[in-house]
Point group: C2
Chain length 335, copies 2
């Protein structure tokens, strides 16, 4: 059995910088046609100059020329209309982080009141620039995303022309918000389709499955699965693949992030086949994103075959999800 995916897109990707960028960019650019690149470097990407330099470093690190990094700026509420108008030529979206909520988000927004955000949101609405949001409060770890729901609702109600993407949703509650507001969209990761908190901390503690937002309850995963497997038109695949060197994930105080980029398509094929929904994978990993972002992707065909693939224990020191395990689908060819 095999399938062909046309121009798969990863709509939420961390490529990092420097040595790590050189290690991971070839892996994403091998199997994806494009990816939304997160701007949370140190310092974050907040100028066009920094963005173009980062874009160049990414392109020099990829293994093929048929991969497009879709660049994003790190949201600041002092971005003016004119700045964003210039930036629009180079960016696919702007990413908003609540301050301190995840890796390198210290310079993010500390007050979600609409007053302080209005000018920038209105400029983005007018210019048609999507707003991507890491939607968590700093509350109790299992409640953070649901607590942020009221912020999403405020944003969606007050800026009806702004496309708002709820990034890496993990709860039934977020899944329900999607249908309540026309301008809310979502990305879903691979790992949140596979795991719950049980997999992270129910047996041994598995730091390589620790991420933000943390994996939630079985009923939450079921709600995400339902959206993904049906390729709900407002959801897109976004891996949130977040590499850390092994000494940062296996030490006392592990960094958050699951590294899935090189195994994502294979594991998605396995999951969709298991549920008899292979026919919907194309929409989930590409078509929905092209409609939502109004984006014409670079052509790339990825041939996946049902054939065993033993996931490497490490990609140059970065431990992937399913490390050392056999999954039942592999990439046969990319053209």
């Amino acid at each position: 059995m095999q399938i062909v995916l046309n121009s798969p897109l990863d709509m939420h990707l961390h490529l990092r910088d420097a040595d790590m960028l050189k290690r991971v960019a070839p892996l994403s650019s091998f199997s994806f046609s494009g990816a939304i690149i997160m701007p949370n470097l140190v310092p974050p990407i907040t100028t066009i100059e920094a963005l173009l330099e980062y874009r160049q470093r990414i392109l020099s690190s990829t293994c093929r020329d048929n991969f497009k990094p879709l660049m994003t700026l790190f949201f600041k509420n002092d971005y003016s209309y004119n700045f964003l108008k210039d930036a629009k030529k180079y960016i696919a979206a702007v990413k908003l982080y609540p301050s301190g909520i995840t890796t390198n988000s210290e310079g993010g927004v500390s007050n979600m009141d609409i007053g302080g955000l209005r000018d920038t949101f209105e400029a983005m609405s007018e210019l048609g620039i999507p707003l991507l949001v890491h939607g968590e409060t700093n509350g109790f770890v299992m409640d953070r995303e649901e607590e942020f729901g009221s912020v999403y609702e405020q944003f969606a109600k007050n800026f009806p022309k702004l496309k708002i993407v709820m990034e890496h949703i993990t709860t039934k509650h977020s899944a329900e918000l999607l249908d309540r507001y026309e301008n809310l969209y979502a990305t879903i990761t691979l790992h949140h389709l596979y795991i719950t908190l049980d997999d992270v901390a129910g047996g041994m503690l598995l730091p390589h499955l620790f991420c933000k937002p943390i994996a939630k309850r079985p009923e939450d995963r079921d709600a995400l699965l339902k959206l993904a497997l049906s390729a709900h038109p407002k959801v897109m695949f976004g891996s949130d693949s977040a590499p850390h060197p092994v000494d940062k994930t296996e030490s006392c105080g592990c960094a958050a992030g699951v590294f899935t980029a090189p195994i994502a398509l294979q594991a998605l094929a396995m999951l969709f086949e298991k549920h008899g929904k292979l026919k919907n994978l194309q929409a989930f990993v590409s078509d929905n994103a092209t409609y939502i972002y109004e984006y014409e992707p670079i052509k790339k065909e990825v041939v996946l075959a049902k054939a065993p693939f033993v996931v490497p224990k490490s990609y140059e020191g970065v431990v992937p999800m399913f490390a050392g395990e056999e999954i039942s689908w592999s990439i046969k060819n990319v053209r």
Copy 2:
């Protein structure tokens, strides 16, 4: 400011065996007068012979002769009345583990139906041997203890003369069960009075705070605090101090267990003082246990002073709670 604790008791302690026993037994025997010793070795302690040998290894590993290991057997439903009658001379309790629920519990009970447990429970009731229970199902990690509640209720209702200790309770629900059944008691650990899941996985992932049962929600911790600080007569301090070598807690797949024995009394004093409840600490760490177990402890006075204590980063390769941090109480003298 200083206080004197008379004969502090740790009513739930893992001393392990061999090298680890030699490392940790001196630490508990330094500051505690006695401790309930968990029987989940490999293989578990199920015979009087193994129990007496283990007791001897413990005594040879302690640093003082004023420490009494209160031995327990690993529950098996084929223990006969006569066996338990003989064993009673040497044991303080019998500990029941659901099969596979925690470290070295593979030989535990796989069916909690009362039918198969009745004979042993009746013998224990008649002989006055307390039943200690690790109360978790194999359900979703945050629900396991509450799900086990109905088992506790069945046990309590059907065996009203059996003293049942709900070990290391972590939920508001368990706290409420205490007052519902006369023959239910509980131990509470140090770490469950201090932490919630937020501390384990809300920021960085902290493997040294990973334990079973996992720390729960803020409202659960508040319920435990209320019981401990008021020295509710049916609760006892039980550290569940569970040492693992550092390579088992900081590697890919971390073992569950927080190591608190050497810092428990200092950290309890800090906590009780903070809440203005120092006067209740004696009951929580000793008196309640002596009533519940009808046990006359070896005399030992531990003088605690409000003076800074920097917790070692490691005790011979075992990382304690609060490693490297300063706590505000220290042990001044033991006599």
